[in-house]
Symmetry: C2
């Protein structure tokens, strides 16, 4: 089976122009099939303020109403996606940006309004393996943003970590997939205050304990949930860490069932 | 030779949501290979105002500085392109949005700063026929926005009419191409005040006279120039008119050498 590297970038890696460029230079060094998925970063919040678009937050989670959906479509599918694609082209990777609507690459279902109406938020229902396989066969590097569609004309905001794991799962019947979640930290930390307290191997048994003890909490929980889902459904390798782990032997967290 | 319909939409057709949807429904009815190219519309000017981005205009032409380039990347490649793609998907066309950077579909060269520095504006240098041919062979409908790249990481603002004619020219060695420029008017008018004064056939000889007499002037000149360039370089049919000409036998202007 051919190898496929799927890399999700988020946090500081996309918010900081220099960090992003460094990552893209490294990512371009990867030989063979590869896909990148990017989150949005904090710019959406800043631009919402400038445009006078109110932010609604319920139970710590942002509601995607129509003005916010339009805003993130501009930022994620427009500015950020095309910046990444143009830079990858400069580094010699034939990148091609995709929202879920493009080539029907990722379809989703609008989340039901009960118990909380999150607005135009979608949960992935299908990944178009045929399209991704065809693009990869042409040495094209798909660059996916965190926007999907419902096939009825509606774009939907979707979690980028989940998109990454869903693509990885779908592609694992064609490739030996390595799924890498990259952010500013070196991996999953035992102690948040101590950046070198990286857990090198996180098994599902250890995870249960660490979750119970609240060593791992809040934002890391859905991310790690996505990792285990991917492993259970056929993805060969899943890891969390700093983008440097893509090209160098640096400490990071390997997730294992 | 297989037929290929290349349709450029601009003006009111993209500014008015209802007109856009009607066009996309009609466009989806076209059998066989098809490509759509869209301009930007007036939203960029409105949003620049909201975001406090100053507009610079020299000799009646807009300067694309960095904040304006970012703005049109958000609007054209983000909001507008993805809205069109998602709606085409709903109408059963497997649309895929492209900036020139995506798949290296269209490369351009930044216009020299003399005599006027237009900023990040590019003139098309190459169209990636291999990519377009491959997408069309997969029944994918490319949806191109008016943004190109220089292959060195820089996105560039490029005239949508020119992008349409350049794609049409490049594809005419593989297809019998019909290039249609669609906007709110019924065609090239003999009398601007009289919407029914459509010139049904505009030859290059007649064009010279009408240009001299200033019957045809300002914005129509570069558009018609693109039409003749396309015909000279192998495009089979070129026409200007209302989007209804795509599916119905309505009056429009046929351009002929």
């Amino acid at each position: 089976m051919d190898k496929l590297q799927i890399v999700k970038i988020g946090g500081n890696v996309i918010e900081n122009r220099k960090a992003l460029k460094e990552f893209l230079a490294d990512f371009s060094e990867i030989k063979g099939a590869k896909i990148v998925i990017h989150g949005g970063g904090k710019e959406a919040t800043q631009m919402a303020k400038k445009l006078g678009i109110p932010l609604q937050i319920i139970e710590g989670r942002r509601i995607t109403d129509l003005p916010n959906l339009e805003l993130i479509t501009m930022l994620y599918a427009g500015k950020l996606n095309k910046t990444i694609v143009a830079q990858l082209q400069a580094f010699g990777s034939n990148a091609l940006g995709l929202s879920g609507a493009d080539g029907n690459s990722i379809t989703a279902k609008k989340r039901p309004p009960e118990p909380i109406d999150f607005g135009f938020v979608g949960d992935v229902t299908a990944v178009n393996e045929v399209l991704f396989t065809s693009l990869l066969a042409q040495n094209i590097v798909p660059v996916c943003c965190a926007i999907t569609h419902d096939k009825n004309g509606q774009l939907l905001n979707t979690n980028a970590d989940t998109i990454a794991s869903e693509i990885a799962i779908a592609m694992s019947s064609h490739f030996e997939v390595t799924l890498s979640y990259c952010f500013e930290k070196k991996g999953v930390l035992k102690d948040e205050e101590e950046e070198n307290s990286v857990i090198p191997i996180l098994t599902s048994v250890a995870y249960k304990t660490l979750k119970k003890e609240k060593t791992i909490h809040s934002g890391m929980l859905p991310k790690i949930h996505n990792c285990f889902e991917a492993l259970k459904k056929g993805v060969a390798h899943v890891r969390i860490g700093n983008p440097k782990m893509i090209t160098e032997k640096v400490i990071h967290t390997q997730i294992q069932l």
